[in-house]
């Protein structure tokens, strides 16, 4: 633990990442209290103050119906973070289980599971998500589903490779020799040794999940208005560039900050846990 703190503090980038993510998470959780105009998260119209450049009290300006952009960004973070948590909470267990079974059992099971994984991996991720969203009706829940479907194969692939190398280790053989069941070997012997790699990937992916979700809503396939979402805010403002630059630049920066932050933490975690790239 001490060592972890030491490595973390030694690298200024890790500290920056931690600060950025900490700030974003706190702001999202306490958005109701932090945001200057909490009611602007919904369908509020204030035509007296529409499309204003950044000025007090609208630090990031206002949008086309007069809502404070800073407030909307904070509430959009809330949705982005929830989405990230839900997607990873669904995708990781599925991917990990598939990878473990395929890697450990081998044989025909391995062939079937990994070929299915390959099929998912061979479709460009955004296209897969878009076609899913095209079939279903665009909403936050369906957006999460779509991103989850495109995300689990990466974990299956990662854990499969790790399992393939771990199962050659002496302790796996030793466990088999004392009569441990397959389930025991997979989940109690091999899985704990894969956790560092999985954790690192999850942290880095968190940022990317938010990015992909924003891309979906940029295309109008994700969260629907009036719910604030970083992607749809960028999309909306893009029509008014470069005059009303604040409509796109600030939500865009908001995406950058959170993705960058999680990436930095991921790198720090990789260093702490000694995971090879």
């Amino acid at each position: 633990m001490k060592r972890a703190v030491f490595i973390l503090l030694r690298n200024p980038l890790s500290v920056l990442g931690l600060a950025l993510v900490g700030l974003v998470v706190l702001a999202a959780v306490f958005a109701d209290y932090v945001a200057p105009f909490p009611d602007h998260k919904g369908a509020v119209v204030d035509f007296l103050n529409f499309n204003k450049a950044p000025e007090w009290p609208y630090l990031f300006g206002t949008d086309l119906v007069g809502r404070d952009i800073l407030s909307r960004i904070l509430f959009a973070y809330r949705i982005s973070l929830t989405l990230g948590v839900v997607v990873l909470a669904l995708a990781v267990p599925v991917g990990v289980t598939v990878g473990l079974i395929a890697g450990y059992i081998g044989g025909r099971t391995e062939f079937v599971l990994m070929r299915v994984t390959d099929v998912f991996l061979s479709i460009p991720p955004l296209v897969l998500a878009m076609s899913m969203m095209g079939l279903l009706e665009p909403s936050l829940t369906n957006g999460m589903m779509a991103v989850t479907v495109m995300w689990w194969p990466w974990y299956a692939r990662l854990v499969y490779n790790l399992t393939r190398s771990e199962r050659e280790e002496g302790y796996v053989l030793a466990a088999e020799v004392i009569g441990a069941s397959r389930l025991h070997v997979m989940f109690r012997e091999i899985l704990p040794n894969c956790v560092p790699s999985i954790l690192t990937k999850m942290t880095i992916d968190f940022g990317f999940v938010i990015l992909i979700a924003s891309s979906l809503s940029f295309l109008g396939l994700g969260v629907q208005p009036p719910t604030p979402d970083l992607g749809s805010m960028v999309a909306e403002g893009a029509k008014y560039l470069p005059d009303s630059w604040w409509l796109t630049v600030f939500p865009g920066l908001a995406i950058l900050v959170v993705v960058f932050g999680f990436n930095l933490i991921g790198d720090a975690l990789r260093e702490i846990l000694g995971v090879e790239q």
């Binding site: 053989l173 020799v177 040794n193």
Partner: protein
């Protein structure tokens, strides 16, 4: 006479590949009486380890493995056991020690946790406190001075010799009838190896455990085993009591094996004769020590 702890008759093993079946074992027969220490000696790839894994039922689960012959453990035909029954034997009645002690212990658990799991095999439902008590006693048996510290350590925090002792303690924790030792301590340096082997010898004698000792180290085998089987390319080529076999090796391969050991007195690296035709000569048993004579 009771059934021997382990009896193997005409064991053949092949792996089916693209180019037909590759035969690995060409009919091996050996047995281990109760409390006996038997060594299986041979070069890399001669089939010694695979024999041990067949006994444990690990090879049978591989696809493409084809085997025939009879293996009986305390009179029970191992081939007739279901997978579940075989798993139940492992770790409880039969246990095994491997070459590299440190890699045999899962790095994410403490020795105490691992020990608890081992004890659960023999005593289902054993509690943490009782398991710890028994683990401390078992570790004290292998001359570990501070069992408490070792139990709360991880394998990578202990030395190789310490881990080897932990493994020996674990292997004997459930009082197995048969201990398979696959080149134990080869990964350790010689002094540590000597210490742990002495310990193992004493413990095995005390528990009355039968032992199959797999090794390519002739010096260790000489000190350790009651009887020796020499294996070459999947065939037993010579068998006999340790003393007689070392004093008077009968088979050309055994003689070559003994000549190949570098002397500590420094006579240079021994030259190995390229002429190996004699190595394929049939099995030579020392008088009174063929399978037929030893097993009624």
């Amino acid at each position: 006479m009771t059934a021997p702890t382990l009896a193997i008759d005409d064991l053949r093993l092949g792996f089916r590949g693209w180019a037909g079946t590759v035969e690995v074992l060409h009919g091996i027969s050996l047995h281990i009486a109760k409390g006996e220490r038997v060594a299986l000696v041979g070069e890399s790839g001669s089939g010694k380890s695979v024999t041990a894994r067949l006994v444990l039922g690990l090879v049978q689960e591989l696809r493409g493995a084809r085997y025939s012959g009879r293996m009986a453990f305390e009179g029970r035909d191992l081939g007739a056991l279901s997978r579940r029954e075989r798993e139940a034997l492992r770790g409880d009645r039969i246990s095994m020690i491997f070459q590299d002690p440190t890699s045999s212990l899962n790095p994410v658990y403490t020795i105490g946790t691992l020990f608890h799991e081992v004890l659960l095999r023999g005593t289902p439902g054993i509690g943490t406190a009782e398991a710890r008590e028994r683990a401390v006693a078992a570790l004290a048996d292998v001359a570990i001075a501070d069992p408490g510290r070792v139990l709360s350590s991880y394998a990578f925090q202990l030395s190789g010799g310490m881990n080897q002792r932990v493994l020996i303690a674990m292997a004997l924790a459930n009082n197995p009838a048969l201990l398979l030792a696959d080149e134990p301590g080869t990964a350790l340096d010689v002094t540590v190896q000597a210490q742990t082997l002495t310990l193992m010898q004493q413990l095995v004698a005390r528990h009355g455990t039968s032992m199959l000792f797999i090794s390519h180290n002739l010096g260790v085998v000489r000190e350790f085993a009651d009887r020796v089987y020499v294996i070459y390319k999947g065939r037993i080529v010579e068998q006999g009591p340790t003393e007689a076999l070392f004093d008077n090796p009968l088979h050309p391969y055994t003689r070559a094996l003994m000549a190949a050991v570098p002397r500590i007195t420094g006579e240079g690296i021994p030259e190995i004769d390229e002429e190996q035709t004699g190595f394929y000569a049939p099995l030579v048993a020392h008088p009174g020590h063929s399978e037929a004579e030893l097993r009624p």
